[in-house]
Symmetry: C2
Subunit: 187 residues, 2 copies
């Protein structure tokens, strides 16, 4: 079989993998186009500049620029400097584990912060009514305060989870490799 035929097959295989990669990112709320940008960078053996990427994903310069910003913000892509070239170059952060943890920790913190802000607004009102009112209003206020306190326990837990993820403590409990894999590698 000719070398060209092989290269063509490889490209098709890559496209399959890039599409799947993009789709998994869609699960987590990323646009398919942005996912494809990441996919292209993931499989590229060298850093790519904006124009390279634009050609690969067949999108406008502006879209690629936007997509890259999003990927840089979540640290899934890193900007690298290339000697003797004015253009910015980009590489994918290939460590899925790191990407996953980054992404996820961010969401947990964001969630908590949103609820905390709302609670700070609502709590004084509820406490006032619980203290001053009687009958139905008092009952409702007390009920809602209880709900609120209960949900705080949840956020307390997610924050401890986030910290365990961030500090890599999680890997003490759920190791990166299983014992079998260690044995295999030790051989």
């Amino acid at each position: 079989m000719s070398e060209d035929k092989y290269l063509q097959e490889l490209e098709e295989a890559r496209d399959v993998m890039i599409s799947a990669l993009a789709q998994t990112m869609v699960i987590y709320g990323v646009t398919p186009s942005v996912g494809r940008i990441y996919g292209v960078l993931y499989f590229s053996e060298k850093p790519l500049n904006l124009d390279d990427i634009k050609d690969e994903v067949a999108m406008s310069k502006a879209s690629v620029s936007n997509g890259l910003r999003e990927l840089l913000e979540t640290e899934m892509v890193i900007k690298v400097w290339k000697k003797g070239d004015r253009k910015d170059h980009y590489i994918a952060e290939k460590d899925f584990m790191k990407n996953f943890l980054n992404f996820f920790i961010k969401k947990l913190r964001q969630e908590r912060s949103l609820i905390m802000k709302a609670n700070e607004q609502a709590r004084p009102v509820l406490e006032e009514v619980a203290a001053e009112a009687e009958g139905e209003p008092k009952k409702i206020a007390e009920r809602d305060l209880k709900s609120m306190n209960h949900s705080m326990e949840y956020f307390d837990w997610t924050m401890r989870l986030a910290n365990a993820l961030e500090s890599n403590e999680i890997f003490e409990y759920i190791p990166k490799t299983t014992q079998e894999e260690n044995d295999k590698n030790d051989k």
Copy 2:
């Protein structure tokens, strides 16, 4: 202060909390409207039927029906039967921890399944080229196979994480309550 004034204040406080709840669900890819349906059910002291919810969130019957289906699928809402009433009634699953775990485990499995399917398609091609070709194609195929194997380690880890979450094993490592809280409750 009058009882009505208190009730009005309470309602305003609730709206703040419902909005925040809806917004946090938006973080995880749920529509604000669907989030509000959940919020309304979360703060309702009794099961609500479709028409009740429709009035509360000011949406069409069809939209509420769709939204409820989504919430039922992710098990954030439960359908309950109410004696002497033909209408379906709904209550919110209030255990955030349970909701979080359900949601998250689903995503992890979905992610893995997507990538696995793509890999099953791509792997035979890569292996064939790695075995039969020479030079550049062979190098690329080997490189991609290596990437693929490396990513399998990640999915192996996320599956072990998912299992630890599903079996509640995770709470051995990251307890639901801290020691301080236990002390406080023991008093």
